[in-house]
Amino acid sequence: MKKNWPLWEVFVRSKNGLEHRHFGSLHAPDADMALKNARDVYTRRSEGVSIWVVESKNIKASNPDENGEMFEPAADKAYRHPTFYELPDDIEHM
């Protein structure tokens, strides 16, 4: 065994109008084979109309241990939501 097949992440668009969604992962020697394997592994029952594959090592993921620094700044910015603003009850179309 010279080298192991790398890991790929598979994203599938279920139908036009919807975004590609992460379906799972698989091993394949190259991108073309990853696409073909993804078809056989994840769309045996017409689950998709389009597949993306990306080698897992190319994904940079955020670290859940740092979720505080990462996501908390949004928590105290209520003024980004429409309900922050007070309007008279009888106003319409707003």
């Binding site: 065994m1 010279k2 799972g24 992962s25 190259d30 029952r45 859940p64």
Partner: protein, 322 residues
């Protein structure tokens, strides 16, 4: 002193973790988790994946001898699904930080277990019917609760598996149905298959509750929602009426509907046989593992050629770009 502090910190991390699961929040691969949670999940998910992969062998045995094209395409599709299920589960398991190669190595070396049911031989075509009906039936009962287990990748894989599994059981039952409506010889064949697969199917749901060592912890982590005995009772209660419809007799002299409990009472399971098979002394343990090893070893040159081709293509692209 330092050590004590560390232990306390660990304890509070674990408390937060357990509370998260109790609130029905999912655990994702990069989240902090106790080492025991990681290890237990690697063990269970890989065992599950191995069962799917080894499970292809007894049925694959009959693909070339299926009695009609309709049966053949269905069986092929079922076996292909099992390969797919194995692959979903292996990749879910890899998110816990173990490599595919290591997982295969554990299977091939006998370190990892797989479901003992696949160490029984498939002697006649009726066995394919009995497997779909009983083995997949028991598997569904085991698997449905796992769709809401605490580890995200495992739960997501199980949702996909369960969606696909019901075709497996129905195709098995249809085979049994056809045989039971056939000649006496065909009906006898169906009865013989039920006789041989009934007890191993009951064993598939695991040791009795008082013998089962992991139940309490597994319940907490939602790896289990019902105990083995509860699952077994559920399986018997729903399967016996299905046997009645086929006109087959479940091979248990003590089997009787209990009006008081609303469940079937059933006879003693031969746990000695179960443990013998688990320990590697079943009819086909050696054959199954050697078939897996053989496939892996003989496929090595294909894997190497594919990666060599991929490397060559990358080189070519780089050269063209320069």
């Amino acid at each position: 002193m330092e050590n004590m502090k560390e232990k306390e910190q660990m304890k509070s991390l674990e408390d937060i973790f357990e509370a998260k699961i109790a609130r029905d929040e999912k655990i994702e691969p990069k989240d902090w988790m106790p080492e025991k949670y990681r290890k237990t999940h690697i063990r269970q998910i890989s065992q599950h994946a191995h069962s799917e992969i080894v499970g292809m062998l007894p049925e694959g045995n009959w693909i070339t001898r299926a009695p009609s094209l309709r049966r053949k395409v269905a069986l092929l599709a079922k076996v292909q699904d099992e390969a797919g299920h194995g692959l979903y589960l292996y990749s879910a398991c890899e998110t816990l930080g173990i490599s595919r190669e290591e997982l295969y190595h554990q299977l091939h070396s006998g370190k990892a277990k797989y479901s003992s049911i696949f160490n029984y031989p498939t002697l006649t075509w009726a066995d394919i019917g009995a497997i779909g009906w009983l083995v997949d039936g028991a598997a569904i009962i085991n698997q449905v609760p796992l769709c809401s287990t605490s580890f995200g990748p495992y739960a997501r894989a199980m949702v996909r598996v369960c969606k696909e599994e019901s075709f497996h059981q129905r195709q098995g039952y249809e085979i049994m149905m056809t045989l039971c409506n056939g000649t006496q010889e065909q009906k006898d064949m169906a009865q013989d298959a039920l006789n041989r697969w009934w007890w191993p199917s009951l064993m598939m749901l695991g040791p009795t509750d008082d013998e089962s060592t992991h139940t309490e912890q597994s319940m907490k982590w939602k790896l289990k929602r019902k105990t083995n005995d509860e699952l077994r009772q559920q399986f018997i209660d729903q399967t016996v009426p299905q046997a009645d419809i086929l006109g087959l007799k479940v091979p248990d002299e003590d089997l009787k509907y209990n009006n008081e409990t609303g469940h079937y009472d059933f006879g003693e399971i031969d746990w000695e046989e179960f443990w013998q098979v688990v320990k590697g002394h079943g009819m086909c343990n050696k054959e199954r593992i050697s078939a897996r090893k053989n496939a892996w070893d003989k496929g090595e040159w294909v894997r190497d050629a594919a990666i060599a081709y991929a490397d060559k293509q990358t080189e070519k692209e780089v050269k063209e770009a320069v």
